[in-house]
Each structure stands twice: as structure tokens, then as C-alpha cells.
Symmetry: D2
Subunit: 355 residues, 4 copies
């Protein structure tokens, strides 16, 4: 209940501070006898890894995962999969002056208020480094889902004012993954990259939005009334660092719509003509693609001087140091996919339990 | 795990179909010895009750709650509070033709796919009538929170294109509650009411948005990393019927912002100059007002004829009958407050557990 | 988490004080489309009902269950099954003098210490009347289990010094159920009944033991390491009022055994020659009958005068009144079966979730 | 839900197979700012370590714990404490012939039935080696409990027919811990040790019983009705390898007692003259010492030849090899204490949540 576990039948528990010994986790519920593709896991880690391109933080972490249990002769045992990733680049010296200063819009202040103590070296438990553990688990979940014919594709569809307005289809994934910003348009990718470079030059950061489409989900997943499928997806996304909003299907756009235009009419194959529902009705998947968007705020660490306070509530001046992302969304794409994968696999198995 | 329970220490379980015998629930975790104001609970039920004004459904339900346990001589015993509300106006005849037709953008199709059986009389378990039980629980939670100095105010801030752009303060609550649409502006209330009447005349419905502000929450509530306070609030809101989106603080607006304008700078009293964070940083409350918005789609039941399919996937024509809301948000205001109250009280007690 | 819920996929939540308005509960997780035998449920309630024979309490409760949701046209909907049983015979006057006196070996003292308030009328939430709700849920679970070829038989195998030492087989159930003490021997039944009458004449009570055998459980149920099948069964049994011990298979007798005599040797059909394991090895069912025993202490309410203290810790004299059981085990037999049924069905569905 | 987690607010999740890379876990819920005594943790590990005396298995494991997170500058951060213990002495060759043979009364058969795959090297996940992780967590819990004035003492009170019948007091702990069998009598210790040596000479094993007394627990811990304190303690104990029974207070002895002799009469200081209740009434602690007993079966691995079957259900002959314990109870004493500590601390914090 202390907040470091997620899921029901598929359950991930994580541990680790950004500048501690290691981050890692325990993944429970993966069926026995499943052949794990270890390389594919590492590939997912590389998608979120620092230093993967010129527009992300240059913190140096090789992010090699070490499995400690649950896999035997390449296959899952059905027992908990324990794993860890050592923290290598612990340049704690960068953080020493922070010991007593609360960085604006970080979790320094709130952790101090909550716990009365904190690992001040780079965010500690509140650091996005924690998501390394999620990606390991999500990569395994995605392999099991692929086996069930379910694929999850996240991509950037907005950075600052630059928005992708095309029509998604899974073939665009190759394009989005070929760009450093992970947007499904080479032209827009160039503009977005230029914007990020410019923002970074100003010592500033910028927000962005990720869209995620899940195909192959059978109708019937989701538990009424409190554990609606999109409610759990929403929680999963809102648990990712820097996320400020979640919307499914028509989302906030539905506010200005009328029922007659919003209703998704059925066709005789049980599909719907439109997908304002985003693949979920009454909290239960309807067989259409699940389609949602996630809003990320601009990264709080900027390379400009900011006025703030220290632990004694005295005013202090803080100038940005360290190696940080000018825009978080390119690296957040695999994290969105990972959380979606954990939710979908969990609900798939919950549904199996009753049949 | 079957989806009808919510919360950890404060835990609500609900039961009931819209046209069954009764709806009701069990509320666990309310401290012993608390003097319950039963009238205040009934008042909250009246805020969501059908027939309360000319612009909501005219279904006739007195919605009188009957407590079965957990309260003794007016005070809580610390044991589960069992309660029920009988379903009175079960005009099931209205629904007979629906038996085999899936209403567009309702949960008829998905429930049938999930369970292979459904109570086709008016939505059954998927009906918003289930929220009666939530409001009973939330009304109790609000009383406990008031005792802790915490108040929760939800109000409508958008219906269709009509948006309230004022600055909220709790004194506006009297105004918003004095209007049938629950918006904190008498002028806008008139326009919104007119819009809803017009939409209803067309046999149509319209979406809306609710904003919720919570004041008095101490810093330190929220559990990293998966059970962030806003992640739980988001799940709670997304579990409400017709909700398509949730955003906190700057929300989707943060996508186009830069870090230098988005960061909330501290003042020497531990507050922040701006509140783009919406009162939560790193998943933990920071002592500022918690501030979020919830998007509601237009009600799916319209009084126009729609093409749809029946259980054999054959095309059928469906003309709207029954008594439904042209716009759901006025009655959803107490439901938003109720879910917020359950989350905040739960997290308040979780925090107490560790201190 | 407040203690009134049990189970994972099959989950029962109960409410109700013995002298409140009603007891009842919510049962979640029963598969949709299951045809419920309502009469069979009532029969189970009659097995635990007061006044069923001359040797049990004569409190008058008809114990008629009223279903409020989750069942439609005789079949389960897959939604929560809400139900209640009204408390009819609330002779609270019997209890008035108890208001300030703590009855020895009851929960009066501990409830007062825990909550600072209690419903002093007959035990309130701590009364065995709460088990009415369990029996309703267990009766449904047993029907689903029967459908899966699993049967659960509990019977009395000891009252005071009188012990049944025969070899169990399911055909003995008719005999045990034909006796008022529920022991599978007519001769022993007579002796036990005589003992109970004698004990009652003395104004005293006596302990007893129940054995439970579950047949038809497939190999593979149970979750290592903390949720071992017998650990969950143990918790389920220890949650029943007046239970002081639980043992499976060889139980406490294993303490004096050697490995060479205790080990259950396999036969070539995958069965074992002996069943010291009690049907569970390493926490997982092995396909042999599950076989355990539960110890019940003598009922604490005796018709003799006892010295005790009141809420001010002053010495007071207490003389037994009210209508109580001289021996609890005959009425506890269906409760043991009910808790076993809830555990086995829950674990059966958990196992299905992973396959 | 997959069985490898225990507790609510204090929650332990473990991972690891006996012959895999490592065993370890995540402990959540320990309050922030608590100064951890790392040496004391290692001391607890040494109490359960193989090779600690001549009468236990000689498997060589140094069992050094490595903490990965949650502790900063010697103090807890309030974040999850991740830890691992490497498996050093993986003499897997000892187990090769077992690959296809099911060892009698082990979990080989049930794991194979459940998962269709197993790590056949020495028990894998079903091995008691998993309890290393529990002891690390329990050692921390015990430190927090000591800070609250609560102490937990387990000791051996029976091995085979040799039974300790003295009156316990905490001062006897030094004696019990000074003996290799952990019994509070030097004379009996000698006899028990002799018995174990004799049994081992025969290539056999023997059962035993552990008693546990917890002092300083305040009245009021325990959650009615399903999460009674002794029900959770019972589950905790029954989750330990080789345990076949659990009894509290009078336990199975209560079956032959009358209410008039069993009832614990109050004294005017709120204590009771006798403690047949074992410190818990109605599932809630009453302030008296909590007192229970746990039955351990004889270790299944014997050094004699046994007939069994292999994975094809063909008869095979199995002769014991490897290094195993002739009697498990001496090493199980710290495990009983550890599980008791996890339960008591969890329930202490649950109680705090509501006040």
C-alpha cells in the first residue's frame, strides 16, 4: 500500500533511488514456460536510456539489466522475476548544494514534508530513473501481449505548439522510431528537433504530448465500476513523472460535442464507424483500438537561475547544473507503452480468471 | 478485485443495478465515535437526484438512504457502514425493446461481450444510478474531512462552448450551488441553461467540464511512485460515468509551456507564487489548493432515431425513449466531490499510518 | 483493509451488528450466467440457524436472505451480489446491564479498547451472527464448486473428550447431517448430545473440533510463498468466532513423527499411499483430498455467575442471561464449509487467471 | 496476488530460487528516519544460517545481505528497502538425478502440476532458502517494534516426544539461544540434541514445535472480522515451510475444556488471571502476552532410499543426498519471530491509521 507496487494479477513492485546502489523490481504473474527474449528487453531500455541522442540528457548509464530469479533455462518459472539495474553514473557532487534548496516544481519540498528526510542527490525516489524498472517489466509484458496478438504503439504527437495531425496506422511506427523525437513524420521531426535545440540553448525546457494506440485488444476487458479499463490506464499514465493530463478517445474535445455527433454507431461486424469512445465503453474494451493521449509538462530543471527557498524557508538562488532533458517526451514514449502493457496484460488475465 | 471496490483504508464497495431491487454499499474505515450528520448526507443525495430541476432527467426516485450497520446512537462504531437505497421508479417497460439492441456509445455491447448476459433494463450495473452509493459514502467522508479542515468544491466550468474563466474562491460556491447548472456565475448560468434547453429541444445532448478545488490539504499526502495523489484522483474521476479526460493544474495546457514559465516558484512561507502543479508535486500534496478538471462527454441517450445493431449483429433502428439528462454535468458535481473526498480521506489516513 | 473483506477474485465483504437493523454482504467474482439455486442457500442458512434443535440457542431468527442485486432472471450477472438478512429477535433488554460490564473471554473489552465505543447489545460486530452473511456467500460458492466437481464436507469429530476415530468417506455425510451434533456416528451422536445437555444443565459450555475434507480439488491450486493454500485455509478458519487452532493432515501429530513414516509415497497414478500432507504440498494442492481440523473453545457465555470488571475497571458480578449455545460446533459445521468453499473457489479462479 | 507478497502497510515482497542467482526482496512501509542497525540484521541471518551448528545442514552460505535502496546515511528514507543475498553454494550437481523424480512430501510434484515447469535444483522457489529474505525484513521490523516496547521471543518447546513444560519468561531467552536446539532448558537441550544426532544417524528426520510469546503489544490491534490478529498470525506461520498446525492460547486443548474453566477472568487492572485467550479476544489484542504454538513436520529429505515416481509417472528409486537438516525447528525459530514481527508491526500501523 506504500505506493511502489502496481497491478493485480500482473504486479510490479519497484525499488531504488536515482543515486543509490541500484534500481530494480519484482514482476509477478507472468505465466510459466514463456520463452523470454532478453535482447528485446535491452532494446526497450535503450529507447529510454540517457545519451541516446543529442537532444536528451547526457547522463551516462549503460542500463544493463540483471535478472536474479524467475527465469530458468531461458523460460519463465511462474515465480517472481527479480531484477536490478546498477546505478553507474552517480555524480552526486552535482547535487551537493541542493541539500538544503528546494528546486521549483520538483518533489524536493514535498518529499521533505512527507518524510522529514530525503536523498537529495538528484531526486532520489522521485527521479524518473525509477522508470528503468518499469521498462524492464513492460518489455516482458509486451512480449506476452504480442503472443496474444496485441500491440502497443506510443508516439509523440505534440511538442510545444508543433502538433502532428495525421491519421495513425501501425506502419507509421517505423518512421516515428527512426526520428529522435519519436513523431510519425520526418518533416515534423526536424521542426521539433530544431525547437528542442533552441529551447535548450535558452537553458529552458518545453512540454509535449504522447498518443498511444493499442490494437488487438479483445472486447470484454475492464472491470466495472471503479476499475474501468480507462480509469486504470489513466492512473498508470498519471503515475509517470511530469504527466499532467490524460484523455481517452474524444477526451476534452467531447466537452463541446453533441451526443448526435459523438455517439459511435455500430456496423454489422460489431465494430463502430467512429471511435470517440477510444476503444472503451462503460469501462470495458469494445474491440476497437484503444486510443489515448498523455500531457507532459516541461521538465522542471532549467539551466537558468531561479529564486527558491532552502529547508529553513530562507530565500536562495539556484542555478541549474547537471545533465537534464530539454524535453522529456522522446524518452517517455517507451514508458507510456510499458505502463499500457502492464495494464492490458493485467486486465487480460483478470478476465481469464472468470471464464 | 472485480472492480466494485475503491480505496485502501477508506474503502467503499458498491452493489446494485439501475432496475434491480436496490443500490447500496459498504463503507469501511471511518473512525469510531464520529457523530454523523444524517441530514447532510440526504442533502448530498438531493444534489445528484433526478428531477431536481427542469434541465435534468425526470425519473422519479426519492433516493432515501437506509443505514443498516456501523452507526449506533448517532455515532460511528468503527465497523463497516452498510446502507441501501431502494429503486422505486423501475419503469422497465421503457426498456423492453432494447433487449436485443445495443444503444450506441452505451455499455450494452461491452457488457454483453464481457459477461454473455446483462440486465438490459436501463443500463443495469453500468447505469449512473450506481453513483447514488458513492454519494452516500462521499457525504460521510466530507464530514470527516471538514473536521480536519479540508473542504472540497466542485463546479461546472464549461458546457459546450460556454466557459467560465473567472478566478475561483470558495465564496463563489453559494452562487454555483444556487444555479441549476452549478456554475459560479449567474449570467453564464442563464446562458448555459438556455443552451441545455435548446439542445434538449433538438432531442440531443451536450458535453461539459467540471473543475474541482480542494483546500486545506496538508503537505505530504500521496504515495510515490505508482499511487501518486493525482494518479489516484485521476482514476477516481475516470471511474465516473461519461468521463473522457482528467487534467491537474496546468494540464494539457502545459504541453505548450516552457519550464521557465511553468515552474512554481516558492515563497518564504513554503507556498508557491503560481499553482501550475495543481497542489501536487512528485505525486505528493504541497499544501497549495489541489485543482483539477474533468471532461464529460455528451450523454449517449438522445431522443433522435439512431441506426444500430442487435445481439445477432443485425441492423435495427432505435428511437430514444425514457427520461434522460440532456447534460450530465450539473448532477455530476456532487459525484466529483464525492470521489475526491474518498481519495483525500484515504490518503490522509494512509499518511497517518506511518507517523 | 479494515478487516471486513475476504478473498481475492472471489471476494466477500460483510457488514452488520448482531442487534442492528440487518446483517448482509456483497459477494464479488461469481461468474456470469450461473443459475443460482436459492433454496439450497436457504438450506445452508437453516443449518447454522438458532433454534434448529434442542441443544442450540433458542434465539428466534428466521434468517431469510433477501438478494438486492447481481441476480437477474435467476442467473448471475457477473456483477456484485448484494444481500441482507434482517435481524428480527433483537431482545436488547437482555443486554442492558452489560453496558458497562466486560463479559469474560468475549470481545467486549477489546472492542472498547480498540474503538472507544461499542454496540454493547450482544456482541455487536463481534457476534457470531456475522457468519450468516458468510453462509449466504459460501452456499453460492459451493454451488459453483459442485459444478466443477468439488465437494466440501465438514463434520464434528470431537466434543469434549468424546472423539470420533472412524475413517471418513463422503457417504457418511448423510449420517452426520442426520444427527443434531453433526457427527458421523449415531452412537457417538447420542453420547455427545447427552454430554451437551449435561453441560448445559450445569450452566456451562464445552469445546469441540470440526474436521473438513474437500474432494475433487485438482492439483495445482495455491500460491507460493505467502499465499499457500493451507495458509489461506488456516486464516479463513481462524477468522471464525471461537476458533483456537488449525491443523492440516498430520497436524500437531507430525511433531512426534519421523520423516520415514511421515513422507507420503507416490503411486504410479500420481496419488500418494498416505495423506499426511492433507492434500497440500509446498502450499499447492496435490490432487489428494484436502483434510484439516479446527479447534473450537467452549462458548464464553455461561449461565453461572462470574466476577468481572466494568468500563471503569471496577469489580462487578455478572450472571449469564440470554439464549446461548452450550456447544458451538454443531452450528459451526456449515460455517467451516463456507469458509473452505470461499478459499477453494478463489484459488481455483486465481489459477485460471494464469492459464 | 501471485503469492510472493505479505502484509498491508508493512509489506514484504520476495523473489528467488534456491539455486538461482540470488534471493531478496522489497520491504515497504518502514517509517522514514529510522536508524537501522545493520549488524543486528546480520545476526538474525546467522541464527537461521546453514552450518551454524553440528545438527543442522552443512550447506555453505555466508548469507551476507546487500541493501540496494531505501537507506541513506544509515537511516530509512521511507521508500522501499530493496535487498538481496547472493546464492553462493549452488552445488546443483547434487540435484541432477532429481530432474525427473518427484521427492516424496516435497513440492516437486505440485510445482510441476501447477506450472508445467520447475527449477529442479533443490526445490527452487519452494525451498526454505526463500526465508532468508523474510529474516532480513523481520530483523528490521523487530528493531522498529523494540522502539515501541514490543519484544518477540520464539523458542523450541518440543522435538519428537521431548517436551518443555516450564513457565516462560523473557529471561529464559538467553538460555534457549545458548543451546543449539533453542530450547529454554540446558538439560532438555542435551537430550534433544542427542535425539537429533540419533535420528540423523538413521538417515531420518524428526518433527518439532515452536512456541512464540510476544510482550508489550497494546490492546486494540487486530481487524474484525476476517483479519483477526490471530488469523493473520496463523496464516503467517502456516506460510513457513514444513508447518502443519497453528494454535493460540489454549489451542487444541480447549476442545476438552468447559467454559467455566476456560474463561479468562479480568482483574481490576484490565489484565486477566489466566491467558487461555493467548492475548487475543475477538481477533483483537487485549494487552496480555500473545502466545501461540507452531507444529513442524519432520523434514522430507531423508538419507534413506525411497520409492517414488518420475515426471512420466514411472516408478523410480531415490536415495537421499545433499546436505539437509535432520530437524528444522532450531533454524526455524528466527523465521517464526520474523513472521510474527511483520504481522504485529503491520497491525500496529493499521491501527494508527484510524486514530
Amino acid at each position: 500500500m506504500a505506493g511502489s507496487s502496481f497491478g493485480n494479477i500482473i504486479r510490479l513492485s519497484t525499488f531504488g533511488e536515482s543515486h543509490g546502489v541500484a534500481v530494480g523490481g519484482i514482476l509477478e504473474g507472468i505465466p510459466a514456460g514463456f520463452l523470454i527474449d532478453l535482447e528485446a528487453i535491452q532494446k526497450e531500455l535503450d529507447r529510454r536510456r540517457p545519451g541516446q541522442s543529442a537532444i536528451v540528457t547526457q547522463r551516462k548509464e549503460s542500463d544493463k539489466v540483471r535478472f536474479l530469479s524467475g527465469i530458468f533455462e531461458g523460460k519463465t518459472l511462474g515465480t517472481p522475476i527479480g531484477f536490478l539495474v546498477e546505478n553507474e553514473d552517480q555524480r552526486s557532487a552535482d547535487y551537493n548544494e541542493l541539500e538544503k534548496a528546494f528546486r521549483p516544481s520538483h518533489a524536493d519540498f514535498t518529499y521533505q514534508q512527507k518524510y522529514g528526510i530525503r536523498d537529495y542527490r538528484g531526486g532520489g525516489r522521485s527521479s524518473a530513473r525509477e522508470t528503468v524498472s518499469r521498462v524492464v517489466a513492460g518489455a516482458i509484458a509486451k512480449q506476452v501481449l504480442a503472443h496474444e496478438g496485441i500491440r502497443i504503439d506510443a508516439f509523440v504527437d505534440k511538442i510545444g505548439p508543433l502538433e502532428w495531425t495525421g491519421t495513425w496506422n501501425p506502419e507509421l511506427k517505423d518512421i516515428s522510431e527512426s526520428t529522435v523525437v519519436r513523431v510519425p513524420s520526418l518533416e515534423l521531426a526536424e521542426q521539433m528537433e530544431a525547437l528542442i535545440r533552441e529551447v535548450r540553448k535558452e537553458g529552458d525546457t518545453i512540454g509535449g504530448r504522447i498518443r498511444c494506440v493499442i490494437e488487438g485488444v479483445p472486447a470484454g476487458l475492464g472491470e466495472p465500476v471503479f476499475d474501468k479499463l480507462h480509469a486504470e490506464l489513466g492512473k498508470a499514465m498519471l503515475s509517470i513523472n511530469a504527466v499532467k493530463g490524460f484523455e481517452i478517445g474524444s477526451g476534452f474535445g467531447s466537452v463541446t460535442m453533441k451526443g448526435s455527433e459523438h455517439n459511435d454507431l455500430f456496423t454489422t461486424d460489431g465494430k463502430t464507424k467512429t471511435n470517440h469512445s477510444g476503444g472503451i465503453q462503460g469501462g470495458i474494451s469494445n474491440g476497437m483500438p484503444i486510443d489515448f493521449r498523455v500531457a507532459f509538462k516541461p521538465v522542471a530543471t532549467i539551466m537558468q537561475t531561479q529564486e527558491t527557498i532552502n529547508e529553513s524557508f530562507e530565500p536562495v538562488s539556484l542555478s541549474g547544473k547537471g545533465r537534464h532533458d530539454p524535453c522529456v517526451v522522446p524518452r517517455a514514449v517507451p514508458i507510456v507503452e510499458t505502463m499500457a502493457a502492464l495494464v492490458i496484460l493485467d486486465y487480460l488475465f483478470i478476465q481469464k480468471a472468470y471464464h
